[in-house]
């Protein structure tokens, strides 16, 4: 079914989302923003630490990095 053939009353998802965010979207309080920011920083740090851990372990294991005993 083409865009021009859509039944009357059907609107695009994008339109709905824009209306929600313009009219009654969730507005975070300062406390919620602070909590979200602290969680985001913690996730970023944890992911960064994981990348560093895998990098260092690759250096430690050297060519044997793919040899994983069961």
């Amino acid at each position: 079914m083409g865009w021009a053939d859509r039944p009357a009353g059907v609107v695009s998802i994008g339109t709905v989302m824009n209306e929600q965010s313009d009219d009654d979207g969730i507005v975070l309080t300062e406390a919620q923003k602070r909590a979200r920011r602290s969680r985001s920083i913690a996730i970023a740090l944890a992911l960064g630490a994981l990348v560093i851990l895998f990098y260092v372990m690759t250096l430690v294991k050297g060519p044997g990095v793919l040899i994983r005993p069961i």
Binding site: L28, Q32, R39, A42, L50, L53, M57, V60
Partner: protein
């Protein structure tokens, strides 16, 4: 009354906060991981890792301990997710993040599952898959066997469920050797038989709390006197087991003397618990506090006498 279902069966827990964006802080997520339990898990895993024969690069050893710690944290978070309903009615646990509504049950569940996945896969990829499989089984045992099944259905909950807390030294050992032998099983047995007197001593003076939550702990189901007898019985098994590493020649006289002395004190406290009548509860509190010292000292001396030298050799080589 037995509680039949966890994770907020009534759906009322923190209902008002469900429509609100989360206020959970990083600190709340750290609490979800039960840091005090984690510290004991890391310590016993370190001992298992240090006393194991063979060599392990310090960075690999650190990675193994990190994965074991995160795995323990994952199990703690999943436990708090499922037990949110009983945590809410117990004084000791009512201020945990899920019953307080700071972390939603779904957030705790996804956090625990994600941590468990990362911990097991990372341990498998960077250390070895047998250790990873043991860690996965430990998390499964604590969450499914203990938390979901045993805790709400039998007074033997902490006897069988105590196995989950006894696995870490075995995982540490397997991280080094990629195999199992009698010595790590002995460490497992020490923690396994230490768990019932430790938790029943706590349950004796928290019996009302457990009864209110409908958790069939031994003092709630079998009564005070029976619990005191069971504490002494398990302590009688624990004390010889505590000295077994020395008797089998795995450790030196320092460990033997420490285990014997601490064992005598532990037995004395167990006897006091048996003799003491309610409402007096000093002996139970003393035994609970001393049991922590007992396990810590035994493993610390083991680390100093057996493991510390090995670690230094490994770091130097």
């Amino acid at each position: 009354m037995l509680v039949s279902k966890g994770a907020d069966p009534s759906g009322t827990l923190a209902a008002s906060s469900l429509a609100e964006p989360s206020l959970a802080t990083v600190g709340d997520y750290i609490v979800l991981m039960k840091p005090r339990v984690m510290s004991l898990v890391v310590f016993t895993a370190l001992v298992g890792l240090a006393v194991a024969p063979g060599s392990l690069h310090p960075v690999t050893a650190f990675t193994a301990l990190l994965c074991i710690a995160v795995g323990a944290g994952a199990a703690g978070a999943l436990n708090m997710w499922y037990d949110a309903d009983v945590d809410a009615v117990m004084i000791r646990t009512s201020r945990r993040p899920v019953p307080m509504g700071r972390v939603r049950p779904g957030e705790a569940l996804s956090f625990g599952l994600m941590l468990a996945g990362f911990a097991v896969v990372t341990l498998g990829l960077l250390v070895n898959w047998l250790a990873a499989a043991l860690l996965a089984f430990t998390i499964f045992f604590y969450v499914v066997i203990y938390t979901v099944w045993l805790k709400r259905s039998t007074p033997q909950n902490i006897v069988i469920g105590g196995a989950a807390g006894a696995f870490p030294p075995m995982i540490g050992w397997v991280a080094v050797t990629s195999s199992l032998s009698f010595e790590p099983v002995l460490l497992f047995l020490i923690i396994f038989f230490w768990t019932p007197p430790h938790f029943w001593a706590l349950a004796l003076y928290r019996a009302d709390d457990y009864a209110r939550a409908g958790i069939p702990m031994l003092p709630v189901v079998s009564g005070d006197a029976s619990t005191r007898r069971h504490i002494l019985l398990y302590t009688l098994v624990l004390v010889p087991l505590g000295t077994a590493p020395w008797l089998f020649g795995y450790t030196g006289p320092l460990y033997g003397a420490t285990a014997a002395l601490m064992g005598v004190i532990m037995l004395g406290l167990g006897w006091q618990v048996l003799r003491e009548k309610r409402p007096a509860e000093r002996a139970s509190r003393n035994l609970f506090a001393f049991s922590i010292l007992y396990l810590f000292l035994l493993f610390a001396v083991l680390l100093v006498e057996r493991g510390w030298g090995g670690l230094i050799v490994r770091l130097a080589s």
